[in-house]
Amino acid sequence: MKLLLFSTLLLTAGLQAQLTSPGLPVDDKRITDDQAGQVFKVLRAVNFEAKDVVYPIYSGRERIAYGVSIGDEKLLTKASEVLSARAIFTANRAREAMGAEILGVYPDHDLAVLKVPGLKAVAAKWADAGNLAEGAFLTAVRSDGEAQAMGVLSVRERSLKSTDQGFLGIQMDPRATGNGVRVEQVVRGSAAAEVGIMPGDVITMIEGEKVRGFYELSTRLRRLKNGEQPEIELVRNQKGVKVKPTLKGRVIQENESRRLQRMDRMSGSQSRVREDFENILQSDMELEVNHAGLPVVDLEGRIVGMVIARAGRISTLILPGDDIAKTLTTEPEAFVPDPKMARRQNRADGNSRTRMNRGPGLLQRLLENLQRDLDRE
C-alpha cells in the first residue's frame, strides 16, 4: 500500500498557519465592514421569496439548525443535527414556539422531514442548480430576509462518494513519468486482478488516449464510474496487450494530514456529517454548523439548494435544488433511533426531568431564550 498512500496522504505544502497573525487595522476594518453592509442590503431584494420558507429549529436553549418548508406542516432539515436532539421545536412568524417531531429520514442525503402541527407555511419552490456556473453568486437566507452569508459556487455538482469512482486496483509510483505507467502491485480481487494485470506491466493507453504518468492515469480512472469498462492497453514483455476490466468502486479512504485537519479546526466548527454526499455543490460561504438547513438562492432569487454541511475552512456543502425535489417525490424512511442513541437520549431526558422538578419555570425560560434569539437575528 505504500505507494498509493503516498498519493493519498499528500503533504499539502505550506500555508503554515500563523496562529498569531496580526488582525486588521481599524480603518481597513471599517471600510470593509461598510462595504459588506452595503452588499448585504442589496441582497435583501433577492432573498425575498426564500425568507418565507425558512424556520429556525431549536432544542432546549439553542438553535441547532434551520428547516425549509415543504408544505403540509412539514419542514426539511439536516438529519444528523436534529435526530439526537431532544424536544425540538420551531417558531412561527408570531414568534410562538411550535413543537416538531421527526416524520422520516433520507439517510443518503442526511435529510430529515419534521412535522410541525399547525404550521402554516408555503412550500419552497426548488430550482435546478445544474446550470449554475462556477463563480455564480449565492446567498444563504434567514427568516428575516437577511443573508447569513454570501459566497460563490466554488465547485459545481459532483459526487463525494469515493465508491462512485472507478477503481482499477493497481499501485503505481506517483513519480513515474514517460510513456506509460508501470504497475507496481495489483490489489487482490480487484478489477485489475480479474483481467490479469500483473506487476511490471506498463499501462500506455486508456480509452484510446495515451497516459504519461500517475496523475494522468488516476485522473482518467477516477472520472470513470464504478461499473464502467474502459479499454486499457499495456505492454508486457515488450508485447502489446489489451484488456477491458469492469471497474469497481473506490474503497480507499483518503486520510487528511494532521496539519490540514488543524487548519480546518481552527477556522470554526464543522458538521459531524460532511462527507460521502452523492450530489453536492461546494461554496465558500462562511457559515457555522447551526446554519445547516438554510435555503440557498442565486441572484435571480431562485432557491437552488439547501445548506447541508459546514465542511472546513473553505467549504460549505449545498444539496442542489433539483436533487432535493427529486428526493421529495420518494417516501422517507421511517426514523428508528438506534439503541445507543436512545440510551443517550434517555439519560438526557432524565436530566431534564430532574431540572424540571427543581424549577417549574423551565418552559418559561425556554420561551424567553427563544424570544431573545429571534430578536437577535
Binding site: 496522504l9 499528500l10 503533504l11 499539502t12 505544502a13 505550506g14 500555508l15 503554515q16 498557519a17 500563523q18 496562529l19 497573525s21 496580526p22 488582525g23 486588521l24 476594518k29 471600510i31 470593509t32 461598510d34 462595504q35 452595503q38 452588499v39 442589496v42 431584494a45 433577492v46 456556473a133 462556477e134 463563480g135 455564480a136 453568486f137 460563490v152 459556487l153 466554488s154 465547485v155 459532483r158 459526487s159 469512482q165 506517483p174 513519480r175 504519461r212 504518468g213 496523475y215 494522468e216 485522473t219 477516477r222 472520472r223 487528511e256 494530514s257 490540514l260 487548519m263 481552527m266 477556522s267 470554526g268 461546494q282 465558500d284 441572484l299 472546513g312 475552512r313 473553505i314 467549504s315
Partner: protein, 329 residues
C-alpha cells in the same frame, strides 16, 4: 511659508490617493449582477492556467499559475523548497514537468518553467501596488492537493488590508495546498500568490505581484535567497555595512564597521544617506522594502550629503555573516 507648504504636501497626496481609489461600491442588484458576470468570466478564462504543483521527491503539493504562453510559472517559495523539478498537473488531469528557477523566500515568491514547447494556457500579470482595501478579488488553487473530481475551487472576496513587503490580506478563504495559487483582480490579471493564513477566516495572506516584479531579474536568473517570514539575523542577508539612524533629512550614518563594504568606499559617521538604489529613504524600518530584492554581490547606488554637498557612491553588498562573523551570532 515654505515650511507650511512642506507640511501640506503629504496631506494633499494622501487625499488625492483616496479620491483616485474609491472603495468599489455595490449599490444595486444591477451592480451585483455585473460583479457576478466579471467573476464568472475570470473563472471561465483563468481556470486552465491554475495548476497543481507536486514535488516528486517530497510528495508535498501546492499550486501555481502560468503567466506566459511559453510556460513561466509563479508560485510560493515554500512550495518549491527543496526541489529542482516539479510535477505539474493541469485541471483536466494532464501531467507535465517544470524546472524550478529562483525564489525570494522573504517574499514567499518563486518561479518555475514548464519544460516542453507550449503554447500554454496563461493568465496575464497585474500588479498589487494599485490594489486598495475593498477591491474585489478571486482566488483559485488546488486546496488539499490535486483532486480529479473537481476543477480548482473558486473563492471570492476583497482586499482586507495591505501589509509590509507587498503582502496582501484578503477574505478569500485558503487552506493547505492552495499555496502558490493565483489571486486575480476582476480583469483576470494575477495580482497575488497565496502564501499563508491566520486562524481568523478573514486573514488569508498573498504575496503581492508587485513584489514578484521587484525580485524578477534575480528569480529568473535562478537565484534563491531570503528566509520565510523574514529574519533580520539571516547571515546571508545583503548589507552595506552602515549603521543608520533617522535624521531630519534622511538617515544619518552612526557607525561604519571596518569589515563592511561601505567603509571600503569611504563612508564616514555623520554622512546623511538620502537615497538607496534610487529609492528615497526616511525611515530605518522601511529599508527592508529595498533590501528584500537585493543579493550580496550586487552594487547599489547610495546618495548622501556630506558637508552640505550631495555625493553618490556605489556599494557592493556583502553578506551579513561575513561582516559580523567575529560577533557571536
Amino acid at each position: 511659508m515654505k515650511v507650511m507648504i512642506k507640511k501640506l504636501v503629504p496631506i494633499l497626496v494622501l487625499s488625492m490617493g483616496s479620491l483616485l481609489h474609491a472603495v468599489p461600491k455595490v449599490e444595486s442588484l444591477g451592480d451585483l449582477k455585473k460583479l457576478e458576470e466579471q467573476v464568472k468570466k475570470v473563472v471561465l478564462e483563468k481556470t486552465d492556467a491554475t495548476i497543481s504543483l507536486v514535488s516528486p521527491n517530497i510528495g508535498a503539493s501546492g499550486s501555481g499559475v502560468i503567466v506566459s504562453s511559453d510556460g513561466l510559472i509563479l508560485t510560493a517559495a515554500h512550495v518549491i523548497e527543496g526541489s529542482q523539478f516539479m510535477t505539474v498537473i493541469f485541471p483536466d488531469g494532464r501531467q507535465e514537468k517544470a524546472q524550478v528557477l529562483g525564489a525570494n523566500y522573504t517574499r514567499d515568491a518563486a518561479m518555475a518553467k514548464l519544460l516542453g514547447d507550449g503554447p500554454w494556457p496563461y493568465a496575464e500579470m497585474g500588479d498589487s501596488d494599485s490594489l486598495a482595501v475593498g477591491d474585489f478579488v478571486v482566488a483559485m488553487g488546488h486546496p488539499k492537493g490535486y483532486d480529479p473530481t473537481r476543477r480548482p475551487p473558486v473563492r471570492f472576496g476583497r482586499v482586507m488590508t495591505k501589509r509590509e513587503i507587498d503582502f496582501i490580506t484578503t477574505d478569500c478563504t485558503l487552506i493547505g495546498g492552495d499555496s502558490g495559487g493565483p489571486l486575480f483582480d476582476l480583469q483576470g490579471r494575477v495580482v497575488g500568490i497565496h502564501s499563508n493564513i491566520g486562524s481568523n477566516r478573514q486573514i488569508n495572506n498573498h504575496a503581492g505581484l508587485s513584489g514578484f516584479k521587484r525580485s524578477w531579474k534575480n528569480m529568473l536568473a535562478g537565484q534563491s535567497w531570503g528566509v520565510l517570514g523574514g529574519d533580520r539575523r539571516d547571515p546571508n542577508r545583503p548589507v552595506m555595512g552602515l549603521t543608520l539612524r533617522k535624521a531630519e533629512t534622511g538617515l544619518a550614518v552612526a557607525d561604519v564597521p571596518r569589515a563592511g563594504p561601505a567603509f571600503g568606499v569611504g563612508f564616514q559617521p555623520g554622512d546623511i544617506v538620502i537615497s538607496i538604489a534610487g529609492e528615497k529613504v526616511t525611515e530605518v524600518a522601511n529599508l527592508n522594502e529595498i533590501f528584500v530584492d537585493l543579493l550580496p554581490g550586487e552594487g547599489v547606488k547610495v546618495e548622501f550629503v556630506r558637508n552640505h554637498q550631495k555625493m553618490t557612491k556605489t556599494v557592493t553588498l556583502a553578506r551579513l555573516g561575513d561582516i559580523y562573523k567575529s560577533q557571536s551570532q
